[in-house]
Amino acid sequence: MNSTSTPKVPSIEVRGLTKKFQVNTTRPGSLKTFLVRLSRGQLKSTEKQEFSVLSDLSFTIHEGEFVGIMGRNGVGKSTLLKLISGIYEPTLGTIKVKGTIAPLIELGAGFNPDLSGYENIFLNASILGFGREVTKKAVPNILNFAGLGDHIYSPVRNYSSGMQVRLGFSIATHLDAPILLIDEVLAVGDLEFQNKCIKKIKELHQQRRTIVLITHNPEAVRNHCDRCVLIDKHQIIFDGPAAQGASLYEQNMDLNS
């Protein structure tokens, strides 16, 4: 890591983050039930149960870091991702994010099958939260990387799933977002394209973009990340060098299985 040569600038700051969900087993769920309850005066009696998905998380991710977040299914990795990207709001605590986030959570989010690939670039970029100028500037690079040739002008409904992923990945990675959130999307497309993706992400890493990867794969963390954050039982149980974290994750999985 080059922490000694360049000053650390925080990119994502999480302080005391707690997220609780309400499991309201007696929620009406339908207008019919709601009206029946209303007529019987039973509306207020609904019991509210809360459970914490994440409790009191604090960590800072600095500019240019490549951080892998690991944990078993259901420990709240996806919830954390949604909190960082601003879909959910924290129950307690704060999240400070510096700059636009490119979520590579769903590639080609909101692609419309009836529109051409070219039209979908603008649609997708705006859905990801980017503006007109940024998108226009990125179009040549997006087209170049996706390598779809003249297919770009035909409707996306005629694309293979691999072509769609190529376009989606290309859009998300060429919009100059300082932060990338990746949720195990790299395991798609053919091998050649996978390698191209990994190369692209490494290139972005070298350009000092902040990258957060959510994964189950210790190998990926070992090979690509600078740092690993392990989450278990709603809390951070490890935050340190990637190789160490990946090994700990493997041990942890063995113990519990």
Partner: protein, 268 residues
């Protein structure tokens, strides 16, 4: 910061109710919807306009020819009510379904939840505006002369849009929690259509029901639309009552959006 009061209406409590900060996104989503509507079938726009026109034809036949309703210029009367109503009900019904309909996007990409009801209403509003010349052409052909009251059309259109949008905002959040709302809304809109003086004049309502007229949020507004397209002078009281109703919807929508909309995403 030139007109802080006005800005606050657009961004109440710093909440971007009218998606002013998301112009590129709104532009792309609306143009997507319009392209899909009108590209796939060459007759797309034609159908969107033809549908209410045929409805008007049916109403005209039933109410004028069979039931012998005696309202002068009944063709214009029906058109001037049914066209705004079509916008209103389509926007509310489509807008209500937008949060559920776009759940896969809303749970993966940070998009303000109000974006989708707004886009639904805006797309329908464009169709509504495109239908306006048709209504005026009918009026001119049938000998209505229009004067300065036309200046009120933008005011009425804004009130209509605001009511449809704010109602869609409220219902879209409610629909997340009450999944059978869709059936109820279709029926309620049908009742609302007949309870509003769209096919008849407010004066034709029997005395004992007259009081209900102004309890209907759309009563005053549709009276205005009728008068405007028939070339009559608008009644200020009707406009003011409509604005008051729009304000009530607006405040309710803000309350629902600011307090509940984000949390609703967790139930998608």
């Amino acid at each position: 910061m030139l007109v802080p009061g006005f800005l606050n209406l657009i961004r109440p409590f710093n909440f971007d109710l009218f998606c002013a900060g998301k112009k590129f996104l709104i532009f792309n989503l609306v143009s997507r919807d319009l392209k899909i509507k009108y590209r796939r079938s060459f007759l797309g726009f034609f159908w969107t306009v033809l549908h209410p026109l045929i409805l008007c034809g049916i109403y005209y036949f039933i109410f004028h020819e069979i039931l012998q309703v005696k309202i002068p210029n009944y063709v214009i009367f029906i058109l001037s009510g049914v066209i705004p109503w079509t916008f209103f009900s389509t926007s509310v019904i489509e807008g209500t379904e937008t949060l559920i309909g776009n759940s896969s996007l809303l749970t993966k990409v940070p998009i303000p939840p109000q974006t989708f009801p707004f886009v639904a209403c805006l797309t329908n509003f464009i169709t509504f505006l495109l239908a306006m010349p048709i209504v005026f052409s009918f009026g001119l052909i049938l000998g209505v002369s229009y004067g300065f009251q036309l200046l009120y059309l933008p005011v009425l259109a804004v009130i209509l849009f605001s009511m449809a949008y704010t109602l869609a905002l409220i219902l879209s959040v409610a629909y997340v929690h009450l999944r059978d709302l869709k059936h109820a809304i279709g029926l309620l809109m049908q009742i609302w259509f007949y309870a509003t003086p769209i096919l008849y004049k407010p004066e034709m309502i029997p005395q004992k029901f007259q009081g209900f007229l102004y309890l209907n949020p759309l009563g005053g507004l549709f009276a205005c639309f009728h008068r405007l397209f028939l070339g009559e002078n608008l009644v200020l009281r009707d406009i003011l009552i409509s604005i008051a109703w729009a304000a009530i919807f607006y405040l309710l929508a803000i309350a629902v959006q600011v307090k509940k909309a984000k949390r609703a995403l967790e139930y998608l």
